[in-house]
Amino acid sequence: MSIHEWFKKKKLEKEGAYVRERLDIPGNLWVKCYKCSQAIYTKELEENLKVCPKCGYHFKLTHFERINQLVDQNTFKEINANIKSVNFLNFTDSKSYTKRIEDAIAKSSLKDAIVTGTGKLGGKDAALGVMDFSYMGGSMGSVVGEKIARLIELAIEKKIPVLIFSSSGGARMQEGIMSLMQMAKTSAALGRLRENRLPYVSVITDPTTGGTSASFAMLGDINIAEPGALIGFAGPRVIEQTIRQKLPPGFQRAEYLLEHGMVDVVCERKALKDTLVKILRWFDEKE
């Protein structure tokens, strides 16, 4: 690394643009917070729902951790677990999409970037979609689109609300135009849900950008964001390159979106379950 690159990296780190985190927190006793750089005792971090006890930075959660934290014990039932991505365009960049799929499955022990199913929160039934950034950056391809559409259709059939937790860089480029079409498909399904007068709560977590934000993630009757989450249409680097200006502080963070009227609530992780349960109980007044 040249000295120039080193300075650039330091600058970016300072601005928080380069918050790089390893999702698999190593078996070490201590981890370093990506935001405040303080050492945290791993167990303490986990007990604190993977929120830095010192600065409140919200670490990314895997689908497994998210479900464990929020869904009533032993109530989650996965559906459509066996839908798998295929390399129908024969797409190869630095490696083939086929290999990428294999690697992603091995890395995340997931079949694709979302897990869907039904479960209870505070005793209330909901159709749940939980994205996982560790599978190819949570990108949306045919499988993510199909699973979301089926989830929504199931919710309509069962007359239950839909909750989707997004964490996604956007459309999956390896599926070309077909990934774009998933935006149409998921949004159309949400239109049907709405016609059926069933609620949809979108929980937007770090990061949610591109085709995911420009479809189901921003369409909640209620949009909830986790603190500090990066949420936007275009990524910050693309914007910077286009307009050749420095971005304002806090740009595209959850709090910034709250200020600009794009989300209803910025909710800390420790209060998330309570908030969701309150919302579900508001929609369904039956005991």
């Binding site: 135009i177 498909k185 949400l190 049907r192 420009a214 921003m218 249409f233 200006q245």
Partner: protein
């Protein structure tokens, strides 16, 4: 409409034509000056130009098609509106924040029938392009489009959308005013429209910015238009880590009309005149008009419910995966 200068409008890969055109002009000049009749020679040369052009155009690479789709002289939405529709009244503004010059919308007649027409608007000069933000709409553009679609719906008029954009604008204001939300909402609402809806990709179909007005019952595409999730340059710089590898990205992503017809993402390809739409505005407008009319006809007899179901099923079935 002014006639285009054939040589000036040639793209780099059409280089073999430059020399032929120069000879042709020379012959014409000579024929005008002298008494010798050179009509035969001119005719032969014209035939050769056409044959050479055909040769070039039968083996275009995807990236060459990208260049045609982005040609500065390619007919824009307003050009098509002028040639295809009558009695156009442009309607402005999203009633909320501003009018977006990168998106035009209005009411018009199509062969005597009242319709609504919406489209991205690019410029043909740098000055025009700056005024039109290079056809990159802001949230207010998408919101205006939806407002006009609603007028169509309330009045039972079909909607025609012409798509030609590099993408939705990635700017600070666009983000602050909810670019993602504006597009997402359009997608959801378009799926529920109770009137016939035809969208046509006329030039660049740039990702979510294109899809934001693109959920027609029928999706048509001009022969040398492109439609993709990201620009070939963007894809190359992210996945191939080198923007110069745009050619590979363009091939890999399948962005041409022919590829998209095979994938089932579009329903029909609209032929372009020899050398691309910019070579003959009138002919490309005529092709566009007849394609819109042919595709609209069967939709006119469908009920509200059938139109919604037709559109829902169309997009619901898009996606390729394995199960089991």
């Amino acid at each position: 409409m002014k006639k285009n200068d054939p040589v000036k409008n040639l793209l780099p890969f059409e280089k073999p034509l430059v020399e032929l055109y120069e000879k042709w002009e020379e012959l014409k000049r000579l024929s005008g000056q002298s008494k010798i009749n050179m009509d035969e020679e001119i005719r032969l040369l014209e035939k050769r130009i056409e044959a050479t052009r055909r040769d070039i155009f039968t083996q275009l690479s995807p990236l060459q098609i990208v260049q045609i789709a982005r040609h500065m002289q390619r007919p824009t939405t307003l050009d098509y509106i002028e040639q295809v529709f009558d009695n156009f009244v442009e309607l402005h503004g999203d009633r909320n924040f501003a009018d977006d010059p990168a998106m035009v919308a209005g009411i018009a007649k199509l062969d005597g029938r009242s319709v609504v027409v919406i489209g991205h608007q690019k410029g043909k000069t740098t000055k025009e392009n700056i005024a039109r933000n290079f056809g990159m709409a802001n949230p207010e553009g998408y919101r205006k489009a939806l407002r006009i679609m609603r007028i169509a719906e309330r009045n039972e008029k079909p909607i025609i959308a012409l798509i030609d954009t590099p993408g939705a604008y990635p700017g600070i204001g666009a983000e602050e005013r909810g670019q993602a939300e504006a597009i997402a909402k359009n997608l959801r609402e378009m799926a529920e429209l109770t009137v016939p809806f035809i969208s046509v990709i006329t030039g660049e179909g740039g990702s979510g910015g294109a899809l934001g007005i693109g959920m027609g019952n029928r999706v048509l595409m001009l022969e040398y238009a492109i439609y993709s999730v990201i620009s070939p340059e963007g894809c190359a710089s992210i996945l191939f880590r080198n923007a110069a590898r745009a050619n590979e990205a363009a091939v890999a992503m399948k962005i041409t009309a022919k590829d998209l017809l095979e994938l089932g993402v579009i329903d029909e390809i609209i032929k372009e005149p020899a050398g691309g739409a910019h070579n003959n505005f009138a002919a490309s407008a005529a092709n566009l008009k007849s394609a819109i009319m042919n595709n609209l006809e069967p939709l006119l007899s469908l009920s509200h419910r059938e139109l919604i179901a037709h559109r829902y099923n169309k997009f619901r079935n898009m996606g390729i995966f394995e199960e089991g």
